[in-house]
């Protein structure tokens, strides 16, 4: 039985802690910094949220599958995406470089780019029929693009206005379009292209009177009501038929940057620079009367910085902004209370691993968008008492900082277990490096096989002789590596017609198996000797978030986004006994209610019954030999369990040894020398690196 001691002594960068049977390297030198959220758009049809970050990354979250971050894409160059738009299943973006880009969601890259020739584009909007895209440009034109099957084509300009077009919204009928500009709102007839109304927006009071007011966001409702939010802190409700102002709600002293209206147009949210999200509801003033009014109701404060992007789904308000967190705040009047849906979620870390650990060499590879860092872990030879910290003989050392070549983001990277090879891939290129002399020297492998295309995921075999790279159409390229050359061995392909990208790769220790998982929830296992498909794990309805093949028993452990765990025997091609038992009894409800996915699975070579998994807030050693947690008992973590009296402890002990001593985990891995590496990135460190928020008067200061 594993005992988890308490940590008492701290060092600046490394914590080596005696931890039951483990020595723990507590790593805090990964300065991971997520990027601010710039835009988001939600598609009710596919239940997916597309999100654009300030560094140009695009992320797609599947809301029907536990808000799992399915895909991460990077634009062609490092340009900020200003607006996003779903047209059916197609995703378009527009940015200040003046181009409209459509994305290839299967190969995770831009499909094509169209120049709008109107200067920077501030906004993009599609009509409800999905036939016309309207973009608002810096030069004051609204440009219409026809959506064709394979591309988009410029159709015409609406009447050109003075001043830039900041925001656009189509009337649901598709005949009218409202444009938010500097100091005013224009309503255009979409057919003739003429401006029919000009609504003047008041400037802010006092000193900001001389400053132009920016209509940051606008919404055109089906009853011809126009709702605008502006830089003077107002949310205004206009009558779009007569062009008159109905109501003004002053909700902040700063800017109101984002608006989002629910599908049924009964609720509306506005995001402000103060980090608040204000809800308005369309409510009748008295019970028995029908005339309704927009009334300010709730205020959510989940952000410390500007709320730049908002989405109003049927049951929740999704918000994101400068503080880099994606917050899903359920509306309690729309969901059942005390269920999984009613819990608030914050997505702070990506749902995939950015850390690669060379188990044999004791090296760590950290992936940043524009560079890679290679660190050697510290060493200690002392023996400390349980829970104490050990003296550090040699501190951790940054060996290499490898800058990317070109403009593109690094989208995946890998380090071989022996520490001799390093590979990374961007959208356009693939690079392989040879590390020597304890990683002091690095040289690029210049002769690469032609089949080695830019990859979505990379993986080395345990003996570092093979490299696996997932590429388009769910295929995996296998390359043999040795001192002299690297040779293309073949391409693993599951079956015809599978197009979704592979996001998880896992090779077995004995070099026999390779498991792949794609975003269609399919898990394939290949026989590497034959380079052929060995078997397909029965498809489960939720996306795999992490998986690994057991070194000795060759069982594949897959963890899904809905927190389910499966163990599949590759030899017998069936679920193992333990997995069946687990499914029969069901996982504990507290396990299922965790809101971050498991991002890593690893095994304890000394004890084959142990599976080590971790998410952002905890890591857990699952002991298969112990009984499963009972549903009626509370799922205690080890710390809480220790504080219980002795008889209760026996009663409550179970096979899930949860440790919450380390927080905000990016990686937990077990080295060859049986020491545990824990990579932490405390959220407070991220917050402290954010720019200062807008000044707010606090009570009693």
């Amino acid at each position: 039985q594993v005992k988890h001691p308490v940590i008492s002594l701290r060092f600046v960068f490394i914590f080596i802690v005696q931890m039951g049977e483990f020595k723990v390297h507590r790593v805090r030198f990964f300065d991971y910094m997520p990027s601010a959220i710039r835009a988001m758009v939600f598609s009710t049809r596919t239940e997916r949220l597309a999100l654009a970050r300030a560094d140009g990354a695009l992320e797609i979250f599947n809301f029907s599958d536990n808000y799992f971050q399915e895909k991460v894409m990077y634009g062609p160059r490092r340009v900020a995406v200003e607006a996003l738009c779903w047209v059916g299943p197609r995703l378009f973006s527009a940015g200040l470089n003046g181009e409209i880009t459509e994305y290839d969601l299967e190969n995770l890259r831009p499909r094509y780019t169209v120049e709008a020739y109107g200067g920077p584009i501030w906004t993009i909007s599609v009509n409800s029929q999905g036939t016309l895209l309207a973009v608002g440009c810096e030069d004051g034109t609204v440009k219409m693009f026809e959506v064709l099957k394979e591309r988009i084509q410029f159709q015409r300009n609406l009447d050109r206005q003075k001043g830039r077009i900041i925001s656009l919204s189509w009337h649901p009928s598709g005949t009218l379009i409202a444009a938010g500009m500097m100091d005013m709102i224009r309503i255009f007839d979409a057919e003739t292209g003429r401006a029919t109304h000009r609504l003047l927006v008041d400037r802010g009071a006092g000193a900001s009177k001389s400053k132009e007011v920016v209509v940051w966001s606008i919404a055109f409702l089906s009853d011809h009501t126009i709702i605008s939010s502006d830089s003077a802190g107002k949310v205004q409700i206009w009558d779009g038929l007569n062009g008159t102002l109905i109501r003004t709600h002053l909700i902040t002293k700063w800017d109101v940057l984002a608006l989002s209206v629910s599908q049924d147009e009964s609720s509306l949210v506005a995001g402000t620079s103060e980090g608040t999200v204000v809800q308005f509801q369309f409510i009748s003033s008295t019970v028995d009367r029908l005339d309704k009014d927009w009334v300010r109701t709730r205020t959510f404060k989940n952000h410390s910085h500007d709320v730049r992007a908002l989405a109003h789904t049927e049951t929740a308000v999704v918000s994101g902004g400068m503080d880099t967190q994606l917050v899903v705040r359920p509306l309690l009047d729309k969901v059942e209370k005390n269920t999984r849906e009613s819990a608030m979620r914050k997505v702070s870390f990506p749902h995939r691993s950015l850390v690669c650990c060379a188990k044999k060499a004791g090296l760590l590879l950290f992936q940043f968008p524009d560079h890679l860092e290679l660190w050697r872990l510290g060493e200690s030879d002392g023996y400390g008492k349980l829970g104490g910290s050990l003296p550090v003989k040699r501190g951790p050392e940054k060996l290499i900082q490898l800058k990317r070549k070109g403009e593109d983001h690094i989208c995946c990277s890998a380090l071989s277990p022996c520490g001799g090879w390093l590979a990374y891939s961007t959208v356009t290129s693939f690079r392989l490096y040879r590390l020597q002399n304890g990683s002091i020297s690095i040289c690029k492998v210049s002769k690469l096989p032609k089949d080695l295309l830019p990859a979505h995921q990379l993986c080395f075999s345990t003996n570092s002789s093979k490299l696996f790279a997932s590429s388009s159409n769910s295929s995996v390229v296998v390359v043999a590596l040795n001192e002299l050359e690297c040779k293309y061995l073949g391409t693993l392909k599951a079956k015809y017609g599978c197009r979704q990208p592979v996001h998880q790769l896992s090779a077995s220790d004995n070099g026999k198996w390779l498991a792949t998982a794609n975003t269609d929830c399919e898990v394939h296992v290949y026989n590497l000797d034959k380079l052929k498909l060995h078997c397909t794990v029965p498809v489960y309805g939720s996306c795999p978030t992490a998986m690994a093949i057991h070194p000795t028993t060759s069982n594949l452990v897959v963890v899904h986004a809905d927190q389910q765990i499966f163990e599949y025997s590759l030899v017998k091609k069936e679920y193992t006994e333990w997995s069946r038992r687990l499914q029969k009894q069901g996982l504990h409800s507290m396990w299922l209610e965790r809101d971050t996915p498991i991002t890593h699975v690893t095994f304890n070579p000394k004890n084959p019954a142990h599976i080590i998994v971790h998410d952002m807030f905890m890591f857990c050693i699952i002991d298969k030999s112990l009984p499963l947690p009972e549903a009626k008992n509370v799922l205690y973590n080890q710390m809480a369990l220790r504080s219980l009296p002795e008889p209760d402890r026996v009663l409550h002990s179970h096979g899930f040894k949860i440790c919450k001593d380390f927080q905000h985990l990016l990686c937990v891995s077990l080295l060859e020398d049986h020491s545990l590496v824990v990579v932490e990135r405390p959220l407070l460190d991220i917050v402290s690196q954010l720019p200062a928020p807008v000044r707010q008067k606090k009570f009693a200061t």
């Binding site: 003004t248 509801q281 008295t286 019970v287 109701t297 709730r298 205020t299 009570f699």
Partner: protein, 832 residues
């Protein structure tokens, strides 16, 4: 000992006017508020008390204006009755007996003939849960009516009347209690309940404090413990309800009120700032700060012109727009009275702690605050846990020319700060002016302070005893011939290092008694010589008191082991002693009577005795519950001439005392009460009429009339000459519908003339017959609109003359005719 039935404990003066929400009448001229056992009617413009509606026998717990008649008001009380008053005239119209203690009353125009009261749940009284009950008031002509029809509406409500409110014309009622809000729709008979969590993660406390409902929209505002205001909407859905939050108050919101048009929401709390929120734009707020004390209730007049706030310091502020227009100040008792009750010898006003750092001078006779005297002269900062300077001791000299005060502040980890201040009365400003400040007069707390009360003595001497083991004598002296006198320490006395606890001068100022724990020392102030020590071991002395007049040779003291001792100072020996747990011993300055409040089995008994006589003059058991620690004899301005032996002790002065709940109580005799009732009846005839030349004429006439009526009653004559009805109608009819004055004048004068003989009397019925035909034609249309008015009029009349025989049919008809809205009375008048 004999119990004396004719002396009872009453609240007279100084009762709370901030106990319940005040009510402003429709015309914004009067303000009604519950005050002790009565309802007070104040004028909103002059701040004077117009009437005191007496009749309840227990605490009045609510006042509301009757929705169907804005000239009448209901009041409810813990005595289990609801009374209907004509508050303009101060007449009790009806009494409804409910039978259960009523904690608050609510009415709405939607419910005719029904009032809603909060009563204690009958099943078990220990847990003190309350329910809202609808009471159907029976339509009956009797004065005292039983109201048996009760039906529970909402169970488990708060006893705070501010937590129950009618919404939108009475279509629903909202009640908040603890952490849940309950809305009951009368039409659908459906209840919706909304719950909040006890605490939020950010430390908010969600307990409901008060509720207000928008008069036109379906919006309920609730105030919470952490200062938030929530505006609830869509509450006719159990799930899709929604609320928005407003936050300005830093502490609990104690009261809220919407203005009648619903454009503004007023809220207040302990910050003593009235906040006005715009209903349509809640980001805009107006503030009325510095209202003096925490706001406990807010009310708005039905026309929205006035609003008023009740404050924790027993004050009602009347606010016009966003400006204070009048202040009604009651006696400030606060949570504790540090100074004893004192009577200012000059103004005969009661003196005690008032606002923080102030002394208040309260006239008991006029039941009005005279003025506040700032003793501490420092800015008062409201903050929880902040220690302020407190006035702890006050003493007056016999003439009222000098006043001494002691203020102290004890801060954590800091030394005690003490100030002794001497104040001189300034004839010009008619107020006390600071003369001397002695910083740190003693090294420790001052336990007792007294002036030499001898009227004859030339110098003014003050004694202060302190925990540091000394007592000091302070004397007023002129340092320079042209300077005013100032205070100097004359003598420092001590006795064996013991702590002095009480000090007391004899009536002639020749002796000073100071108790040092269990020893009483008697000093001569002239020579500062220790004359005698008296001791009654083993317990410390609690109170000391010299006898007066014929009993001046006696010194009385009480000890901690419940002993009352009386020493004879001539023999320096114990005259008598008896075992009693006396909490307060008080000598009447005008007679030789001594009052002792005796704590016994959770309640207090009163004994009044003369030290020379073995038998008590008066005793009353169970005066009030709890311990009485403050009392005072207030000299009467005019002596009572009671010949009964038991009430003679009240002839010269009145005994006031403070109960544990800080209510000021006094003793009254039956004779006195009757006198008071008689005077109040006298008042209610004239008060409804403004002071105009008209009034002067009329007032005289009325007096004559009432005299005539009194004589007429006995003769069995119909008591209503036509003229009076005409005059009444003349006064009641709005000026703009009256004919020109010249036209009216002759009629009016004629109506005042006493009719000559029965000749006209006989001719009248015939005319009436003629009239009535014409009347019947148009009466159908008019009857409905004026239905409520004749009823009221007849009620008022009936209660005014309870002994009058029932009116005959003809009289009733005539009465109705006079009351008609059309001006047929004019023609009648012309003919007569």
């Amino acid at each position: 000992m004999v119990e004396h039935g004719d002396i009872r404990v009453v609240r007279r003066g100084g009762s709370k006017i901030n106990f319940r929400q005040p009510v402003i009448t429709n015309d914004s001229r009067l303000l009604l508020c519950a005050s002790g056992h009565s309802v007070k009617v104040f004028s909103t413009s002059t701040e004077e008390c117009v009437h005191e509606l007496r009749g309840h026998t227990d605490l009045v717990t609510g006042v509301v204006v009757k929705p169907s008649n804005h000239l009448q008001a209901y009041s409810c009380s813990l005595d289990g009755t609801i009374r209907l008053w004509d508050f303009t005239d101060g007449i009790l119209i009806k009494t409804y007996d409910i039978g259960y203690s009523i904690y608050s009353i609510h009415t709405s125009a939607f419910h005719k003939g029904v009032v809603f009261t909060v009563t204690s749940t009958i099943s078990d009284k220990k847990s003190e849960s309350f329910q809202l009950v609808a009471v159907h008031l029976p339509q009956s002509g009797d004065q005292l009516v039983k109201a048996p029809e009760l039906s529970a509406v909402i169970s488990d409500v708060s006893s705070n009347p501010g937590a129950i409110v009618f919404g939108r014309g009475g279509e629903y009622i909202a009640s908040a209690n603890g952490l849940h809000l309950e809305v009951f729709f009368f039409k659908k008979q459906k209840t919706y309940r909304f719950f909040l969590k006890k605490d939020t993660k950010t430390g908010g406390k969600n307990t409901f404090m008060c509720v207000a409902a928008h008069p036109k929209d379906d919006c309920i505002a609730t105030g919470h413990e952490d200062g938030k205001i929530r505006l609830w909407r869509n509450f006719n859905h159990q799930k899709e309800y929604t609320y928005s939050t407003l936050h300005w108050h830093s502490n609990a919101v104690s009261s809220m009120c919407f203005t009648p048009e619903g454009t503004n929401l007023l809220s207040g709390g302990v910050e003593s700032v009235l906040v006005q929120w715009r209903y349509n734009d809640v980001s805009q707020r107006d503030f009325l700060p510095r209202l003096g004390a925490a706001i406990t209730h807010i009310a708005v007049s039905p026309d929205g012109a006035l609003s008023c706030t009740s404050h924790s310091d027993n004050k009602i502020t009347i606010i016009q727009g966003i400006k204070v227009s009048a202040v009604l100040q009651g006696l400030v008792t606060g949570e504790s009275v540090e100074t004893d009750l004192m009577v200012d010898p000059r103004s005969k006003a009661l003196v005690l702690n008032g606002k923080p750092g102030h002394l208040q001078f309260y006239s008991l006779k006029r039941d009005k605050l005279l003025y506040n005297l700032d003793i501490v002269q420092q800015e008062y900062i409201h903050e929880l846990g902040l220690q302020q300077f407190k006035v702890v001791k006050v003493a007056f000299d016999a003439s009222g020319n000098w006043m001494a005060t002691v203020e102290e502040r004890k801060q954590k980890d800091a030394e005690q700060e003490l100030n002794l201040k001497l104040w001189a009365f300034d004839e010009q400003t008619q107020s006390f002016v600071l003369n001397t400040t002695v910083a740190d007069p003693h090294e420790s707390r001052i336990t007792a302070m007294c002036f030499c009360q001898a009227a004859a003595s030339q110098t003014t001497m003050l004694i202060s005893a302190s925990e540091d083991g000394h007592f000091k004598a302070w004397q007023l002296r002129r340092l320079a011939p042209d300077d005013g006198p100032s205070c100097l320490c004359d003598f420092v006395g001590a006795y064996r290092g013991l702590v002095p606890h009480c000090c007391c001068f004899s009536a002639d100022g020749s002796l000073l008694a100071v108790s040092f724990q269990e020893v009483v020392t008697v000093w001569s102030p002239a020579s500062w010589e220790l004359l005698a020590t008296l001791s009654q071991p083993p317990k410390a002395i609690r109170n000391l008191c010299f006898g007066r007049l014929s009993c001046s040779k006696y010194l009385l003291g009480t000890t901690d082991d419940h002993l009352l001792c009386c020493w004879n100072l001539l023999t320096c020996s114990l005259e008598w002693s008896t075992s009693m747990d006396i909490s307060l011993l008080l000598g009447d300055p005008l007679t030789e009577n001594i009052a002792a409040f005796c704590c016994h089995a959770g309640s207090t008994d009163l004994f009044v005795f003369k030290p020379s006589e073995p038998r008590p003059v008066f005793s009353l058991k169970a005066v009030c519950s709890g311990k009485v620690t403050h009392a005072v004899f207030a000299p009467r301005e005019e002596m009572l001439e009671s010949c009964e032996e038991s009430s003679q002790w009240l002839n010269h002065s009145q005994l006031y005392f403070l109960t544990q709940c800080m209510d000021l109580m006094t003793f009254t005799t039956k004779a006195e009460e009757e006198k008071l009732m008689a005077s109040s009846k006298q008042l209610l005839i004239d008060d409804s009429v403004a002071m105009t030349p008209f009034y002067l004429l009329l007032g005289k006439h009325r007096k004559g009339e009432s005299g005539a009526a009194a004589s007429g009653e006995s003769a069995g004559r119909p008591p209503l000459p036509q003229g009076s009805g005409a005059v009444k109608e003349l006064l009641r009819t709005p000026a703009h519908v009256l004919p020109s004055t010249s036209f009216l004048c002759s009629m009016f004068v004629k109506s005042l003339l006493v009719s000559v003989g029965d000749a006209s009397e006989e001719s009248k019925p015939a005319e009436e017959e003629m009239e009535s035909e014409k009347e019947e034609e148009d009466s159908e249309g008019d009857m409905e609109s004026s239905a409520s008015r004749p009823e009221r009029g007849s009620l008022a009349r009936r209660s005014a003359e309870p002994a009058a025989p029932p009116l005959t049919k003809a009289q009733l008809r005539e009465l109705r005719r006079v009351k008609k809205l059309d001006h047929s009375w004019l023609t009648g008048l012309l003919r007569s």
